[in-house]
Symmetry: C2
Subunit: 144 residues, 2 copies
Amino acid sequence: MSDLSKRRLKAWIRLLGVTRAAENHLREYLRVNHATTLPRFDVMAALYRRREGVTMSELSRMLLVSNGNATAVVDRLEGEGLVRRTPSEADRRTVHVALTPTGATQFEGLAADHEAEVDTLFAALDENDLDTLADIMKRARGQA
Amino acid sequence: MSDLSKRRLKAWIRLLGVTRAAENHLREYLRVNHATTLPRFDVMAALYRRREGVTMSELSRMLLVSNGNATAVVDRLEGEGLVRRTPSEADRRTVHVALTPTGATQFEGLAADHEAEVDTLFAALDENDLDTLADIMKRARGQA
DNA sequence: CACATTTATTTCAAGTTTAAAATTTCAGCA
DNA sequence: TGCTGAAATTTTAAACTTGAAATAAATGTG
């Protein structure tokens, strides 16, 4: 157990702590101010980024969650008319999921507030920190 | 929506991506090689760090999860004899949770392998990166 | 002391998440 | 064509997680 490996472990624990704290904060924020949840927000954000729609598999890969999970969250959003499933014409196994106009409109309001909340959450980090962090994260991601 | 706020959002999304990818990797690792899960590992790690035992509230604060969640995971670990609940003598509302000798022994094996896995997962980060990251994380944590 | 408030924990319902199994469809090939 | 294996999605069971309600016990205040 080298010293370096212990330091990697500590850095990971710290990273996890910051992430969990921020997620808890954002979850509470979405619940209180927008009556929604983090997983729903994540799905809507992914669909907003890919307005033309994505397949269920693409969606679960984007969010790094299992297929079954994506199915469950999309089911609920579809039930509320925020999201629409369209069977693919080319491949009958495939389904395209996309935001409905209602869903897109709702997400735009959500996204602006979410961005503002993230901004205050990480207010302590300046441009230099953000560059450095982005760089480190980019290199860390390579292995996983 | 300032440029800086957009950069904070991007940094957060990147942070979340790395954390999720690493968690998925470690979850898979614990499942395949040790037949256990991340939440169980987290509880055992917290109890190993505080060998004398902690209250349920301390435990949920340490892990940043709800009380009900801590109760559920501790219930399962207790059922398997890895963890023990002891009613407090001073305050009858309070319960002390601690690893059993079996639990402590099992965790020691788990922890060594876990550390090694984290080490390979973040092998791309050197000492300098780790220092910088730790510093940034420490400052980021202040707000949440 | 009596009562209201706070604190610690558990219970509960609903939602989230995973991994594995089941279904359906597609693609390649003998 | 008919078969085999791969791919996309859903379903299922079990575990995890939250937030709120319920319990129980301690604390503080009149």
